[in-house]
C-alpha cells in the first residue's frame, strides 16, 4: 500500500532524512518511533505530498507522490502535528467543509459526517465552535477530519497528544479497529503506544532508520541476557556469592531495595527453577521471583544511544546479538 524507497530530504546543507526505505502492507499498522527532530514529520509530509523528496521515491496505493499528487491525496487521511482546525467554525461546519474539499456531496457527506462524529464521540459538541473546545476535543476533530472520507491510508502524526488517559485508550482502540481494512502509519514518541497498537515498528533517529521489526522481535533481538529479579526475606552477606555458583548465571547485581537482586543468566536458559531451589534450600525466604523482559523503551534508548558510535547501527546490533548467541 505504501512503498518508500531510499528517500532523502535535504534542507540546504541539513539532511533531515537520509535514504529511508520501508513499506506498509494493506491493513497493517506501522509505528514511526523516534526522538524529536528524528525526521518523522518530514517523512510524513513527503508521503502526504506536502513536500517532495530530494531523492528517492514514495508511492501510495501505486501512485507516485511527486508525479500524481492529487491521486495520492485522495487515498490519504492525514492528521498533522497540530490539528488543522478553523476556530471560527463549529465541528459540523468544519467537517462539512473538509468533506466538500474531498468532493463529497449530499447524502454521502451527511452519512460520513454522522459516522465520523459517532466514531470519535463528538456528538455532544457538534454544534459548538472549535475555538471554544479543549485540546483533547480539537485533537479528536482533527482525527475525525482524517477519517471522514474513509481513506485506505491513514497518516497520523502523534494522534494521542493532548488527550486524557481514557481518551488515549479509546483512540488506540479506534486505530486498532482500523487495522485490517486500513493501512495506518502513526508517529509517536510514546513507546507503550507503539507496543499497544502496532504490528510493526520503525525506529528512526537523526534521519535514518535504525531498526524495523515487530515490537516483540525488536526487544528479543537486542536482549543480551535473560534477566531474573528476586527478592529475599533475609539476605546474608554470602548469598550473592552463592547465587553465582549456579551454572549459567553470568552476573548478580544488588537491587535498589534491601534483599532484592537482579540475576543475569545466559541467553536462552531458564534458571528460575534452580534459583528457587537454592533459595529455599538456604532458607533465605523467597518473596518474589520473576523474569524481567526488555521493554521497547530499553530497546529504543539502546538503539538511539548506540547510533552515535556505530556507522551501521542496525546491522551492528544484529551481528552483535548473533555473536552472543553463538557464544
Amino acid at each position: 500500500m505504501i512503498d518508500v524507497h531510499n528517500i532523502t530530504k535535504r534542507y540546504g546543507h541539513h539532511t533531515a532524512i537520509d535514504r529511508v526505505t520501508f513499506s506498509v502492507a494493506k491493513g497493517e499498522v506501522l509505528a514511526f518511533l523516534g526522538p524529536n527532530g528524528a525526521g518523522k514529520t518530514t517523512t510524513m509530509r513527503i508521503l502526504t505530498c506536502f513536500m517532495p523528496a530530494t531523492e528517492g521515491y514514495a508511492r501510495v496505493a501505486g501512485f507516485d507522490c511527486t508525479d500524481q499528487p492529487l491521486d495520492v491525496k485522495r487515498q490519504i487521511g492525514y492528521l498533522p502535528e497540530t490539528p488543522p482546525v478553523y476556530q471560527e467554525f463549529t465541528v459540523t461546519e468544519y467537517l462539512t467543509f473538509v468533506g466538500r474539499l474531498r468532493g463529497m456531496t449530499g447524502q454521502n457527506l451527511t452519512a460520513a459526517l454522522d459516522q465520523a462524529i459517532g466514531k470519535l464521540e463528538l456528538g455532544s459538541v457538534r454544534h459548538r465552535l472549535i475555538g471554544n473546545l479543549s485540546r483533547g476535543y480539537r485533537q479528536r476533530v482533527g482525527l475525525a477530519q482524517a477519517l471522514l472520507h474513509d481513506p485506505p491510508v491513514l497518516i497520523l502524526d502523534e494522534p494521542t497528544v493532548g488527550l486524557d488517559p481514557k481518551q488515549i485508550i479509546e483512540i488506540r482502540e479506534l486505530i486498532k479497529s482500523l487495522a485490517g481494512s486500513h493501512s495506518v502509519i502513526l508517529s509517536t514518541h510514546i513507546l507503550p503506544e507503539a507496543t499497544a497498537v502496532c504490528q510493526r515498528v520503525v525506529i528512526i533517529n537523526k534521519g535514518r532508520i535504525v531498526a524495523e521489526d515487530t515490537p516483540e522481535q525488536l526487544s528479543a533481538r537486542l536482549r543480551q541476557s535473560e534477566k531474573v529479579s528476586i527478592t529475599l526475606k533475609t539476605a546474608p552477606a554470602d548469598c550473592e556469592m552463592k547465587l553465582r555458583t549456579i551454572p549459567g548465571i553470568l552476573n548478580v547485581l544488588p537491587g535498589q531495595a534491601g534483599g532484592s537482586f537482579l540475576l543475569e543468566c545466559e541467553l536462552g536458559r531458564d534458571l528460575r527453577d534452580e534459583i528457587a531451589r537454592l533459595v529455599v534450600a538456604s532458607n533465605w525466604g523467597l518473596l518474589e521471583l520473576r523474569t524481567v523482559s526488555m521493554t521497547l523503551e530499553d530497546v529504543f534508548l539502546q538503539l538511539t544511544r548506540h547510533e552515535d558510535h556505530l556507522a551501521e547501527p542496525a546491522e551492528a546490533m544484529v551481528s552483535a546479538s548473533v555473536e552472543r548467541m553463538d557464544a
Binding site: R45, Y86, F89, Q145
Partner: protein
C-alpha cells in the same frame, strides 16, 4: 458543491464571523459617503458663485464636479483598506497550521488561490454595490449622465480586483498578517508612484512604458468615461500575473 465553491464558502464565512468585514465595510462606506457629501457641497458652492456672476440659474455638471473627483479620491481609500481585507487569506492559514491541511487535501493550488481571491472580490463588490446609493440619491435632485458613472464603477471594480490580487500575493509571502498588509500597501503605493516617474520622463518610450505600468492612467480613462481595450487588458493581465506569482509562492513553500 465543487472544492472551489467550498473554499469560497469557507472564506466568506471566515470574513463574516470576524469583525474585519464589518469594520472595513463601515469605514469604507463612511468615507465614501463623507467624500460624496464634500464634493456635492463644493459643487453647490460653485453653483452659487456662478449664479451670482451670471445672474440666473447655472447648469452645473455633476459628472465633472462630483463623480470624477469622488472616484479619483476613492483610489487612496482602496489603497489603504483593501490590504486589510486580504491580509488574512494565506497568512492566517500559515499561522494556524491549516495551510498544510489545505495543501494535502485533494485540491489544486490554483483552486485554493482562486477560491480565496473570488471570496474577497465578492465582499469588495458587495461593498461597492452599496455605494451606488450615492448616485441614486443624487439622481432625485439633479440630472446627470449615468454612462461615465458606470464606467467609473467598472474602473473601481477592476482597480479593486487588481489591488486584491496584490494583497493575496502579499498574504502568501508571510505568516504575519501585519507584514502582509504592509507589503501589499507598499507594493500598491510603489506602482502608484511609478506614474510620477513616467511623467517625469515625459513623452519618451521609457516614459510611456513606465506610465503604462502604473494603474493611474488606466483608471483615469475609465473614470472619464472611456472604455479602452488596452486598459481592460492592463487590469486583466496584472491580476493574472499577481495570481500566478501567488501560485509560485505557495508552490515554493513546499520546497523549503
Amino acid at each position: 458543491m465543487t472544492p472551489v465553491q467550498a473554499v469560497i464558502a469557507k472564506e466568506l464565512r471566515g470574513y463574516f464571523v470576524s469583525p474585519i468585514v464589518y469594520v472595513v465595510g463601515a469605514v469604507f462606506l463612511l468615507i465614501f459617503g463623507l467624500l460624496s457629501y464634500l464634493y456635492v457641497g463644493f459643487a453647490g458652492a460653485q453653483a452659487i458663485q456662478l449664479m451670482q456672476m451670471q445672474g440666473g440659474a447655472a447648469q452645473i455638471n455633476l459628472n465633472d464636479l462630483v463623480f470624477r473627483n469622488l472616484f479619483a479620491s476613492v483610489r487612496i481609500v482602496l489603497l489603504i483598506i483593501l490590504p486589510i481585507l486580504t491580509m488574512r487569506l494565506f497568512a492566517e492559514e500559515r499561522k494556524l497550521r491549516t495551510f498544510e491541511f489545505l495543501l494535502t487535501s485533494p485540491i489544486r493550488i490554483n483552486d485554493i488561490i482562486i477560491g480565496k481571491f473570488v471570496s474577497v472580490l465578492l465582499i469588495y463588490l458587495g461593498l461597492l454595490g452599496l455605494t451606488v446609493l450615492v448616485p441614486t440619491v443624487l439622481m432625485l435632485f439633479s440630472d446627470f449622465d449615468w454612462n461615465p458613472i458606470w464606467t467609473g464603477y467598472l474602473g473601481m471594480a477592476l482597480l479593486g480586483a487588481l489591488f486584491l490580487s496584490v494583497g493575496v500575493f502579499a498574504s502568501a509571502l508571510t505568516e504575519n498578517q501585519i507584514v502582509a498588509a504592509f507589503v501589499s500597501f507598499g507594493m500598491l503605493l510603489t506602482i502608484w508612484l511609478i506614474a510620477g516617474l513616467g511623467s517625469l520622463l515625459g513623452d519618451t518610450t521609457a516614459g510611456r512604458v513606465i506610465s503604462y505600468l502604473s494603474y493611474m492612467e488606466h483608471y483615469d480613462r475609465l473614470v472619464r468615461g472611456l472604455i479602452d481595450t488596452s486598459d481592460l487588458m492592463y487590469f486583466g493581465s496584472g491580476l493574472a500575473l499577481m495570481l500566478f506569482l501567488t501560485h509560485r509562492v505557495v508552490e515554493s513553500t513546499r520546497w523549503k
